[in-house]
Subunit: 321 residues, 2 copies
Amino acid sequence: MEKTSLIGLDWGTSALRAYLFARDGRVIERARSDAGIQALRDAGFRAAFEAVCAPWLAARPDLPVIASGMIGSRQGWHEAPYVATPAGFAQLASGLLRIDRDAGRPFAIVPGVSTAPASGPADVMRGEETQVFGALSGDAASGRRRARVVLPGTHSKWVEVLDGQIVAFRTYLTGELYAVLSEHSIVGRLFPSRDDPAHGRWATHAFSQGLERASADPAGLASLLFSVRAEGLLGRYPADALPSYLSGLLIGAEIAHARSDPMHAGPTSAPLTIVAAPELAQRYAFAFRRLGVDAAPAGGEPAAAGLFAIATAAGLPLAAA
Amino acid sequence: MEKTSLIGLDWGTSALRAYLFARDGRVIERARSDAGIQALRDAGFRAAFEAVCAPWLAARPDLPVIASGMIGSRQGWHEAPYVATPAGFAQLASGLLRIDRDAGRPFAIVPGVSTAPASGPADVMRGEETQVFGALSGDAASGRRRARVVLPGTHSKWVEVLDGQIVAFRTYLTGELYAVLSEHSIVGRLFPSRDDPAHGRWATHAFSQGLERASADPAGLASLLFSVRAEGLLGRYPADALPSYLSGLLIGAEIAHARSDPMHAGPTSAPLTIVAAPELAQRYAFAFRRLGVDAAPAGGEPAAAGLFAIATAAGLPLAAA
């Protein structure tokens, strides 16, 4: 077996993704389990990690481990306090929480990043900081002074990086709004049910109309959301187009606001880097094209690349013999 | 007993409110039950109505009845099709749905009102049209050419009336967003639980800050919603202030958008009329003062006054002997 140096864990709410790194940072092997922190309690964390990495640890029991994501939250294994913006490799590396004793080996948790301006809303991230640095390492973006990364999802993040530091960011509740409105509100009452063949079908026209309406009037989002119900009641959209219309409204409002956010009004005209799983990245890429925003998906595996880079800044990986 | 002329029913999702009218339109008696349409199915509608009005019907079995609200929806007793804007007394009266046979007496259901502009979002109301005409009848507002009514609630409505007709309106999902985000999303995860003495406590400062942040940046609502979580995690607000902060954000975004809505950009500077139950009317009145908007609560009982006025336009009440 090739010489290994580090295990990286991208450990979120609903999944645990593990990477085995070679000494030069390449990913040699991958593993995944459903042991997100939601499914675990206290004693379960170590066992879950050892289970998913068992073959790697059997071969090399002293491999150090670095983990990022909700594993470092209050509901996770141990709470890793947030590091305030501006935050780069140095701040993240010195903010690493070591839990070697509980983990039975060198084990570091990457801190989250927070921002708390005196006169504006607070914000937090946990896990995305690692993906951001991973997305910017090793590709064309890394040479730029200023970069912007968008990480669509349950809690979409828009992140501004300047000279290798996260200087500002904004979270949008986009994905979670979609889920709770679909499942628990009148907005989703007309949607096809889970056992309907039309469930989950994609309606491009309705998605585009949602995008356009919300990006033309993002301040009216709370009213546009009700229009999902009204359009359905009046028969202007078939029921199976309503979920796409809702998705378009939420993504359209997010993009319109983020584009006009003073935080993104810097001197750059660099394209946005999109970090997301393929299906969601495609949906956002479609939205960006439709709204005339220059954006491109990140290459490689941002979480893995970020984990290795932060670990390296902290001197964690086993050195070449 | 004074001579009676009509029974009016304000029959919504969660409650049934009944009014017994004198021949001049005054309310002689009131009754209320929890038999909202949510709690009923088919055969239950007539029984629920007869139960709540039993003493009135015993004295005068031939009293005609008019009902407004969700009782006329697809989930209600019979669906009363929407009347399109512009809609005044004449349109509502001629759109009344008669269900005399099923009800065993003269029984009319007020239609809802819809708007479906070719290039904008659709909207619907059901029940509010009756309250709007009730609020504008009999008080100083009735003499004005143009009036605006706001009906805060689960689905807040902003209604523009011109020459006695509803010409435009907008629904905001404000109250429902508050409920689903509190109960089903990460936004409410830190809120005091129902059995906590701090549950439901009012935090004026947090409410005001929410109002101000959202009215300064209503297009950022989906991001401000996440700040409820972040402000709590970072300890900038105590947990028992977070619900008030969320309420302020939602109401602030609603008011800011509605004020700038072209639909409300007419030549009037007439004050807004607020139609809501006392606690909610007070909360909105506080918000309007804070944001410098001239608004005053409607007097009297808008639903009752509207029911009598629409019934009269249709010739429904028993005439004076």
